[in-house]
Symmetry: C2
Subunit: 461 residues, 2 copies
């Protein structure tokens, strides 16, 4: 009998920090551990090298009379984890999983070893009960998610044969607001990052000797940045919203049904009021609208007291979050065009393009905006997961778009045409990327039951 | 015979860096050296302690039949110097004065040991020739000029008796554009410094999870800062220009006569164009107009690459340069009022007041705007210096206001009611505050001749 908690403890003990080369042996350990588990339950396991950390690809073909028409499901996960420091803030060692009050603590317990273990355990149990299950299963477990899945797209391009014939992705690397509210994430925002640098004089100048003769680049940058939003909170770039997909009534209803409280959210953020475009609650704005956000600004003297200079340059770091249908490259072109038109004469402006991520969206079956050409397998997958959640949790899942960005989901869609069914399992209090990361064992068990039931239904049983 | 070059070399050897406590013994050495020089030529020398570095006060009363009605002139200077680092950029050791190509190199040779030595040498020669000179002379030589004259105002308040009866200040701690163009500085801009801090959320937030819900403090700061200037380059604060003194035609004429070249100035600054309010050349704007200048801006992530946060706060450092008649306290009140009115609702704004300096202005006699109550002694002082410059340099000095701020001049005016005749002696290439500081020996000699002739004339001889 597959014991997911004992396996998870052993898995956490492999300190698979992908960002730090010193942890490379633990990366090997973690992927061989998870590959070994899959081998034990009947999968053919392969470690596909990348420029950094190999990807585990494990396949188990459908069996039985219905094998020829069985669906093919890819289960995605990642075996790498965030660095554990600051170590002194942990109540128990990050790589020695410890159970306290119905929760398991350790780096990676929630992101992503615990949720991935729920999928492996569900598959193990199901195959034990039904060795001839008519379902093609492929695990794709990468080791670079915490460093931006840098080689994942290349892997998809070079090894598309390994994933040929797949119907959709099934995975758990997203969250839920509370243990009673299951969420299937049906959208992720994209990203368009860049920097603006404005410079004028060749060096910092004495503000007494020269102040009043030239345009201060901090002033110029402030004036330029101030043109980028309207007073009501929209982004003030021609064409910025052109491709933004309409929000459907069912999406707003879904959010309302979550019963989120604005006052609680304001308190959590520590703000006295929200700032959203007309017609959008904060919960809607962070999911359904694109943004242009200043992540950093710098220029001149920043130490204690004052230094009477006119700085030579000033710089702002910007990221846009994009929603479905927006293309980061096109959006950036429009922004750069506006910036060039609005930049003050005489100053040098440098626009430095940084990384992008395509937004992602999938519409569950039966909604007014479900694409007419949605594949029957994907629709059946959604129905199977919804039924399984109802059965295990007692109520149906919420279908929500989220504000964050996970580039690899868009990569799977653009490279392989595959959509993803993202069943959330971790909680706000699970401390992802922070000390005392933990995972709720009740959710682990219910997650296994849900995934087992869903896979069984996908196999038509 | 007083040899100013040998004395200057010995004076420079005292590494009187006021900012660094390790140099304290050299501060004592420098002030006792300069006090000793003045003692040798007949002055009664006193070292008046301050909270940091004592001030040298050296007095020599008028003699002879006209003593009772003789003017009393204070000669101001400072014995402290800037730190010498980076030492590796000096061509000769900073505290071992070296003569090369008619210039003397070393820290303090121009700022202010050389120019002060010109005054001491002039007085020494004059008194040697005319022991009974009917002129009351008081040297006030401070040791904290390079750290902002922090205790000078307290000294003036507590020891006004020592300077009682003085008619005006005579000094050389300002510059000239070229060895042929002597300048008497007749105005200095003031300063009003403060910081603006805007904050919103209690901590930096994930820009995916929360972007679109709240106002980004960098955006808010940019929008606030962008309201502070008009497109034509004026400061956009109600009442900002209310007290600004009118520029007289003679002042513009004086500047024009200097024959400064805008293209050369732009090239020196490394800018492609100037940005001045309508009706002002860059040379006029830096002298005759107040400014609101951003010295620094910061907020959020400033390292390499990107970090997808909504920062908790953003901050800008601002200094205004003020011109005659503007009161830093009043101007700051008006700016703060405007900032409070314009600040976005819901964000926390902190306005942190920093140091101020009052602007200063004196009008030489015979100009259309010379005050009717200008003292005859001051008027005679200006005429004496002008005549001396004509005699030694062959042409009269230019009377120019400067863009920088020297708070102690305004302090002398406000505490003692004394104006200053500021005879410039250092050149743009003298590298004040920088490696390879130097001073032109030709100017030193002509400066001594000029000061000697001027003092003689002030004494009515």
């Amino acid at each position: 009998m597959f014991d997911p908690i004992e396996k998870l403890k052993a898995y956490v003990a492999h300190a698979s920090v992908s960002a730090d080369p010193e942890f490379a042996p633990h990366m090997v350990g973690a992927r061989e551990f998870v590959g070994g588990l899959l081998g034990e339950i009947g999968f053919a396991v392969e470690y596909v090298p990348t420029a950094l950390h190999a990807i585990v690809v494990a396949k188990r073909p459908a069996r039985g009379p219905a094998a020829a028409t069985a669906p093919h499901i890819i289960i995605y996960g990642h075996y790498d984890v965030q660095p554990a420091d600051p170590l002194e803030l942990w109540d128990s060692p990050p790589f020695e999983a410890e159970i306290r009050d119905g929760r398991i603590y350790g780096r990676g317990t929630a992101d992503n070893k615990g949720p991935l273990m729920a999928h492996i355990a569900a598959v193990a149990r199901l195959l034990e009960k039904e060795p001839d299950l008519p379902l093609n299963l492929t695990f794709v477990i990468e080791g670079e998610e915490e460093v931006g899945s840098v080689n994942f797209r290349t892997f998809l391009k070079e090894h598309r044969d390994k994933l040929a014939g797949a119907d959709f992705i099934f995975m758990s690397d997203t969250g839920i607001p509370s243990p009673e509210q299951m969420v299937i994430t049906v959208g992720l925002r994209g990203l368009a990052s860049f920097e603006i640098e404005l410079s004028n004089a060749a060096m910092d100048l004495h503000s007494g000797a020269h102040g009043g003769a030239i345009l201060n680049p901090i002033q110029a940058l402030a004036e330029l940045c101030a043109t980028l939003h309207t007073p009501d909170g929209r982004v003030n770039i021609p064409g910025f919203y052109d491709e933004v997909c309409e929000v459907e009534d069912w999406e707003r209803d879904e959010l309302r049904a979550l019963n989120l409280n604005e006052a609680d959210y304001a308190k959590f953020l520590g703000v006295s009021q929200f700032h959203t475009p007309p017609g959008y609650t904060p919960f809607e704005a962070i999911r359904f609208l694109p943004t242009l956000e200043f992540n950093g600004i710098s220029g001149g003297y920043q130490g204690e007291g004052s230094k009477t200079i006119i700085p030579s340059k000033a710089r702002a770091k910007v990221t846009c979050r994009l929603v479905a249908n927006q293309d980061p490259v096109v959006i950036k072109e429009r922004i750069f065009k506006a910036l060039r038109e609005r930049a003050p004469a005489g100053l040098k402006m440098e626009l430095i393009s940084q990384h992008d991520a395509t937004p992602y969206r999938v519409v569950p079956p039966g909604r007014s905006n479900t694409p007419a050409d949605q594949s029957p397998a994907l629709a059946a997958g959604f129905r199977a997961v919804e039924a399984a959640v109802k059965q295990v949790w007692g109520s149906r899942p919420f279908y929500l778009r989220e504000g964050g960005s996970v580039g690899l989901i868009a990569d799977l869609k653009s490279e392989l045409g595959l959509d993803a069914i993202m069943l959330g399992l971790f909680l706000p209090q699970d401390n992802l990327h922070a000390p005392n990361e933990g995972f709720d064992l009740g959710i682990l068990q219910k997650g296994i039951d849900t995934i087992e039931a869903a896979l069984r239904a996908m196999a038509g049983r």
